[in-house]
């Protein structure tokens, strides 16, 4: 496990999160102390331990591939910030 500073600006870009310079500075200090605390996990030898992603003994839960009613179109668009002709409106993606 690597100690040290998080490059908050870079990680915020990965997370698609616009931060003010003040927020970046404050987060950097706070995350430094949280990461310092998390370092204690390094004390444990986990070489032969299987990871737990989930605590339930279920795998590959499937259902029949059948057409069923789903959320109606107008309901799906109900909370859209911008919409037109039954579509979500987004900024231009391709020049």
């Amino acid at each position: 496990m690597a100690t040290g500073e998080i490059d908050v600006k870079y990680v915020a870009h990965l997370a698609r999160l616009a931060l003010t310079p003040d927020e970046e500075k404050k987060l950097s200090a706070q995350l430094g102390s949280i990461l310092g605390y998390i370092e204690k996990l390094r004390e444990l030898d986990v070489t032969d331990v299987e990871p737990t992603a989930h605590a339930v003994p279920l795998v590959n839960v499937t259902r029949a591939d059948e057409i069923r009613p789903s959320l109606p179109h107008d309901e799906a668009l109900r909370n859209a910030p911008r919409q037109s002709n039954g579509l979500f409106i987004v900024p231009k993606i391709v020049e």
Binding site: M1, A2, I6, V8, V11, A12, H13, L14, A15, R16, L17, A18, L19, T20, E23, L27, Q30, L31, S33, I34, L35, Y37, I38, K40, L41, R42, L44, V46, V49, E50, P51, T52, A53, H54, A55, V56, L58, V61, R63, L71, E75, A76, R78, N79, A80, P81, R82, F88, V90, P91, K92, I93
Partner: protein
């Protein structure tokens, strides 16, 4: 004072036509009008809709219908979808979002006849331990309004403790039901992972989240658990286990049952009054005929660190959906990337940003194995500690929290100290087991509730509730009411 009744008391009065559902609902609305200015448990509620549901329930009662929650007003944490009601997760980012569908747990409550009303305050996206992270202002503890009610389901706990509803729903990812229940003096149950469908619960950490009830006594928790449990094709992690009548488990007889006391939970930061209340509870269990044995959960000290890697990693992925395209209060940008960043930067509060950054970091290239995979392996060790303990004991007894409710503002500038207040509740979610907090006494000055936590085997809710109920019935704590 109909709003002060339990579900079982109100149901009996409704069945005997002693009172109407409309009167009971009106009593809750009157109490909200009287006290919620001070408590701020509710973000919003629709009184006309609640009364219309109550009238429908009264007609059903008059027609001789008999359902477990018919005419019982139940309020809901602002993280569960209720069709045509607002859903904000106490965040600015969701704007004027209105749920297009019902959560499965809500559908089941409604099918059982409940009056589902109100949106209860919480820490934004269920991230926090004090409800101070709500974008709409903190909730206050009904026992002392200068103190926090706990969190993240602080509104759910405070609303039940202040008798603004008969019972409520919350969600628990690392203690968010049990901790506020303890600090507000009510019963809070986190069922086994997979017991209640998470469909319609806004995801925080998908492998840890579970819906559960806040109630005035253990019997009501058993009733609500029975109504809400069961496999659901819309949640592939819900488990096809039979759903028993949990109220039948409440026999009052716990003779011969074995309860484990983990030595690792007697930590330095444990408040003296909390410690002595738990010691008195242990003595009470012995009087009731249970056997107490010391056990060891050796990886306890690593639970908080493990949790803050796994929970933030999952949250960073889950909260990616709040991007301003299909919903959310959009802040425009020149291109989609800028739009996402601006929308999320303006919409999320400080704690949510902190956790998204931490979670993104522990999953990022070069750090994934060192942090996330490592934490998942430690999670296995923590889970194995519990499974081993449950080979010899029926349940585990601990304090729910290291201290009673702290002052508003006391820990809000120090995230790590806030995280450590969840030290006793976090392991339960990592291990995927069930847990309940029941009142076990009060501090002297000021008078604040203390919670006792019982942890049970996976799908061991019957034994867990039997033990909790036997203790509750042998002690006076759950009958005390906050003077508000």
């Amino acid at each position: 004072m109909l709003n002060q009744l339990t579900i079982s008391e109100l149901s009996a009065k409704l069945a005997q036509r002693e009172v109407s559902a409309r009167e009971a609902t009106q009593a809750c609305l009157d109490q909200i009008a009287r006290v919620d200015g001070k408590i701020h448990a509710f973000l919003s509620f629709n009184a006309a809709d609640a009364l219309a549901q109550a009238e429908k329930a009264d007609k059903a009662i008059a027609a001789g219908e008999n359902k477990p929650l018919l005419g019982v007003p139940i309020a809901v944490k602002d993280v569960l979808a209720v069709k045509n009601q607002p859903l904000n997760c106490a965040s600015k980012i969701l704007g004027n979002f209105i749920s297009p569908y019902d959560a499965t747990a809500i559908e089941k409550l409604q099918a059982a006849g409940a009056i589902v009303f109100g949106r209860l305050n919480m820490d934004e996206f269920a991230m926090g331990s004090s409800t101070e992270n709500s974008a709409f202002g903190a909730t206050k503890n009904p026992w002392d309004i200068t103190r926090i009610p706990g969190g993240s389901s602080g509104g759910s706990a405070a609303a039940v403790a202040a008798h603004e509803c008969i019972a409520s729903l919350g969600s628990d990812t690392g203690g968010s039901i049990r901790q506020p229940a303890a600090l507000c003096g009510c019963v809070g149950l986190k069922p086994t992972y997979g017991r209640i469908s998470r469909y319609g619960l806004v995801a925080f950490a998908s492998s840890l989240d579970q819906i559960g009830p806040f109630t005035k006594d253990v019997r009501d928790s058993a009733t609500l658990l029975g109504v809400m449990s069961g496999v659901d094709p819309r949640d592939s992690t819900s488990v096809p286990q039979p759903v028993p009548d949990y109220t039948k488990a409440l026999t009052g007889d716990i003779r011969g049952m074995k309860l484990g006391l983990p030595k690792e939970y007697m930590i330095g930061g444990l408040d003296a009054e909390v410690k002595s209340a738990v010691a008195a509870a242990v003595k009470k269990f012995q009087e009731l005929g249970a056997e107490i044995v010391e056990i060891s959960l050796p990886h306890t000290d690593y639970a908080v660190a493990t949790y803050y890697i796994i929970a933030t990693a999952e949250a960073s992925a889950n909260l990616a959906r709040f991007d301003g395209i299909r919903y959310c209060a959009r802040v425009d940008g020149a291109d989609p990337i800028e739009l996402y960043g601006q929308t999320r930067g303006a919409g999320f509060g400080p704690e949510v940003k902190r956790r998204i950054i931490l979670g993104t970091y522990v999953l990022s290239s070069g750090y994934h194995d060192a942090y996330y995979l490592h934490a998942q392996k430690v999670r296995t060790l923590i889970r194995n500690d519990f499974l081993k303990a449950f080979e010899t004991v029926d349940a585990i007894v601990t304090p729910t929290t290291p201290t009673a409710a702290f002052k508003i503002g006391e820990k809000s500038d120090d995230p790590l100290q806030m995280y450590l207040s969840d030290i006793f509740t976090i392991s339960c979610n990592l291990a995927g087991i069930c847990g309940v907090s029941v009142p076990c006494g009060f501090t002297k000055n000021p008078k604040l509730p203390i919670g006792l936590q019982l942890l049970g085997k996976p799908f061991g809710e019957e034994s867990l509730l039997r033990i909790a109920h036997a203790y509750e019935q042998a002690t006076p704590w759950h009958k005390e009411k906050a003077a508000i």
